[in-house]
Symmetry: none
Subunit: 115 residues, 2 copies
Amino acid sequence: MLKRLLELRKNKNWSMQETADRLGIAKSTYAGYESGYRMPPIQALVEIADLYEITVDYLLNREEENNRELDLIKLLVAEERVLSLDNEPLNREELSNFIAFTRVKRQLNKSIKEM
Amino acid sequence: MLKRLLELRKNKNWSMQETADRLGIAKSTYAGYESGYRMPPIQALVEIADLYEITVDYLLNREEENNRELDLIKLLVAEERVLSLDNEPLNREELSNFIAFTRVKRQLNKSIKEM
DNA sequence: ATGTTTGTTTTCGATTCGCGAACTTTCTTT
DNA sequence: AAAGAAAGTTCGCGAATCGAAAACAAACAT
């Protein structure tokens, strides 16, 4: 049961036909996947993940909380992953600036609520 | 073609029979997977990943591509992963602020350099 | 209202799968 | 070295699953 297929497709504003075309399969075949009527073979699963540029585990709802949530501070300290924007990686300064920015903004919102 | 099955099994010092037993399938079935003679259905793929406590993407040799570099725009759209700060996940507004903030700052730096 | 796009469901030929069984190879024991 | 056991490979076939056309329904547009 690939529950995420619908939301992924809607995010792109694609019809089933268009999605099926992009995957090179018939729309009834794709409809079968999205409805859960049948499961795609692994090859098709991989092509779907590629199409949306997501992991297969995400498609299968297997993303664990630990993997799913990335702490910005940890990203800043241990550079095991890289955030990028407009095809340009974020450097340390940009990241720490944003952390400060967001902290201030959160504090601000909190203060406003308390008024 | 699940190239990692052999090394995973050898790491555990399991025979094909023992692996098949743990998966609840026949050894010839498992042998088919490991040799690449046939692909497992998705359900079996998930059970293999669970057995070895790894991701499906790792089984499919798709680890690096998707995990190393995280595009902020994709994070905003796909919501596959969540950034968090001070144990509080970034909501869409904060993330889009992040993006706008960084873009503005980059443009600013660019302008300064040109002076 | 009519035609068109979109989504759903059914049907069936074709493909793929699971597994028993037979076989080969490797390891163990004597 | 021979015999037996365990491990791994391959084949064949009934069963299960798949892909896609087609018919249908629903929503949208002209």
